[in-house]
């Protein structure tokens, strides 16, 4: 792939805009149809930029004392939630940058926050517990203590929330908070992703492996041999491909047919340092990867997990997160120096 290593964007990535926030850009997202890109930083600031031009819409510095840890975009309203080291979750109106709801979750860091797909519930994890709130910010339920601090949360559907922690994935009923299913495995699960139908749950583990379960059969498998811990995971929209980090290469497992057991994954090589983040575009088997090397690469994949780099661009520092605009025509990268870089994406 010649021409992908220069300083300018290449391939399908075309120059867009860039902006800066106050510190390491921790998390962000495109609101609704991509009207704005919102970003939270390590100094606790929250910023909104106009989606097309990158012009600053508003900025609120030092809102979360100690720093922002997570962000979740509301699925059907121009709103989003931020979570931080101050133990709070804040719900924002995207247009004005006004906090419409402030929830004191606990005295520890709130490391994960997620809206249910229908926007009815907001879940947040704090230390060993996960909490569920209604749209009014009133807590509906709170889990018992997990075996360790909750490392990841995800909605497997509108009525069920999944959590990952040391040794366990747990599924909770959204209305009652009762555990529905527990999948156990000795190991520190550092990341989690669910297939769109909610049947497959995959976790990256501290011991440099990816462990996954098919919930319908409770059958589990392990992919090992990673040089590092796979903290970046992504499922494509059809639930066919699971992309995993855990080294300089992106490893893509295909669930078509009887896979991925007994199959060879696609190994996508372009990054010079470990992959830090992965994101699939909503349609069309396009994967974006970011690395510690500050590189962003777009890949076109087949259903077997094999693929090629079709675009690449550098940013200033370690890529912390990547977000596709919902229409798949733009890609945003957040980096360790507080940069937010947006490219237009061609065909």
């Amino acid at each position: 792939m010649s021409g992908l290593n220069g300083d300018a964007p290449a391939g399908v990535l075309r120059s867009g805009w860039s902006a800066r926030v106050g510190d390491y850009a921790i998390a962000g997202g495109w609101t609704l149809r991509g009207e704005a890109l919102v970003v939270g930083d390590a100094a606790g600031g929250v910023y909104a930029f106009e989606g097309k031009s990158g012009a600053a819409i508003w900025a609120q510095r030092g809102v979360h004392e100690g720093g922002v840890l997570a962000m979740a975009i509301h699925p059907n309203r121009p709103a989003f939630a931020t979570a931080g080291q101050d133990g709070r979750v804040l719900v924002w109106s995207a247009a004005e940058g006004r906090v419409t709801l402030a929830v004191d979750v606990g005295s520890d860091w709130v490391e994960n926050v997620a809206w249910s797909p229908d926007g009815r519930w907001l879940a947040a994890s704090c230390s060993r517990q996960v909490h569920a709130y209604g749209t009014d910010g009133v807590r509906v339920w709170r889990s018992d203590d997990h075996p360790s601090t909750v490392s990841a949360i995800a909605w497997s559907g509108t009525e069920e929330l999944a959590t990952a922690c040391y040794g366990r994935v747990t599924f909770f009923d959204a209305s009652t908070g009762k555990p529905r299913q527990k999948l156990e495995w000795i190991g520190s699960l550092v990341s989690m992703v669910l297939s769109p139908d909610g049947d497959i749950v995959a976790c990256g583990s501290q011991d440099n492996s990816v462990h996954f379960w098919r919930r319908s059969t409770e059958q589990d498998s392990e992919m090992s041999g990673y040089p590092g811990k796979p903290s970046a995971l992504a499922f494509d929209d059809t639930g066919t491909l699971l992309a995993t980090g855990g080294g300089e290469a992106v490893t893509v497992w295909s669930f078509q047919g009887r896979g991925p057991e007994g199959t060879q994954p696609g190994v996508l090589e372009h990054h010079a340092e470990a992959v830090t983040t992965l994101a699939f575009a909503r349609r069309g088997m396009r994967l974006a990867s970011g690395g510690r090397d500050g590189g962003v690469v777009v890949w076109s994949l087949g259903r077997d997990g094999q693929g090629d780099a079709i675009g690449a661009a550098p940013v200033a520092d370690v890529v912390g997160a990547l977000y596709w605009r919902p229409d798949g025509r733009a890609l945003a990268a957040l980096d360790a120096q507080g940069g937010a870089t947006v490219w237009r994406v061609g065909d």
């Binding site: 390491y24 921790i26 100094a43 080291q85 040391y166 501290q206 360790a336």
Partner: protein
Amino acid sequence: MDTPRNIPVTILTGFLGSGKTTLLNRVLKEEHGKRIAVIENEFGEVGIDQALVINADEEIFEMSNGCICCTVRGDLIRVLGNLMKRRDKFDYVLVETTGLADPGPVAQTFFMDDEIRAEFALDGIVTLVDAAHIEQQLGRSDESTEQIAFADVLVLNKTDLVDDDALDSLEARLRDMNRMARVIRSERADVSVDTVLNLNAFDLDQVLERRPTFLEPEYPFEWTGVYALDVGRYELSLDDGPDPAMSLVVVPGQGTDDPALRESAELCVRRYAEPADLIRPGDEMPVGKHLNLQLDSPGRKSFFLEVDTPERVGLYAQHTAEEFDLRLTSANGATSGAEDGPRAEPATPAESGAPHVNGAVPVEVERTWVAQHEHDDEVGSIAIEREGDVDPDRLNEWLGELLREHGVDIFRMKGFISVAGESRRFVFQGVHMLFDGQPDRPWGDAPRRNQLIFIGRNLPERSMRQGFEACLV
């Protein structure tokens, strides 16, 4: 893990009540120019404005392979992982563990997790010891033993509550367990900050600079005397002493300079490992063998030595000459046990002005050795210091096997290796089975030698020494 940009981390361990929080507050107060992040696993009263204090529950994450050496502290990975995103704002990280914490997983975290390793450097492990209570704690818990074994610095705190003799014996016990650590006494954790921060304790150079003798090996004997002897018969006599028996090796052809003494010392270590010949008063003493002189009868006891050619003889004795008033005298013409035969006058060296009695042969050179002693604790230190170059393949094989078999019992190790054909020193350090090594600065004019130290539980010292010996070219 030692690139300059890495943020140094000090781990502070010690039982509840040993003074960790007091020490922490002192450090934060004195280092007010620095931004220090404190991770606390125990509720303490750290109250210094400019420090960021993060409370985190201790989370011990074992791996599915069941290897304890892969066990890490999940809370540290999580908290440090977030802290490093704001790295411009921190100069230093202090981790205060709970009193019952096993320091292994804490230290292993800095070796095992790539992201942590890329951003942080474990600077040192400081263990606070409550001088008044540690003896009881050592008897009751593995954790306190391990906290001592892992330490780079042992702060012997609350010394005002214990008398000097008890302190001395406590310090000796701690040093026995961990010869690598620096021991500092304090009353109310009032130690200077530079004794606990920026230790570079994982750098063996620094440790050797502070305590150049800590690698001195221990020997099964305490004393050597070299005598210049002419042909003839000699009587070694000993008075009543502290023990009913004493081991001895008589080394013929002994040189007087230090290398010669050390060379024979190595030989005698091997002899001492062999079964001893029991030698009773009046018996002849064969040379070059492990002898055990029987001293249980009261009064002065004599043993005899025949010398065929004029030469220097080295006596490598289990105890010092002073303890038994050990003397070597010419037995030519003496009555006790002497046989008839050719005789010569003892060649008393003319240059020696030392006073001597009854034909006593003066000691030409004597020296003492660091004596091995009974270790009460299972945890101890093994230091290996050898000149010469090491074959890298053999070293790899030996270390690999050692760590496989005894990694669980090895708490800490560090060292320098002189690898054959390599112009630079190879420096290594490790925790349990985790091993980190790389070439360091060139040897230059410095004498090439190997220095290794292991701290562990019930380590097989003899086979470790032999194993390393076999790696030498």
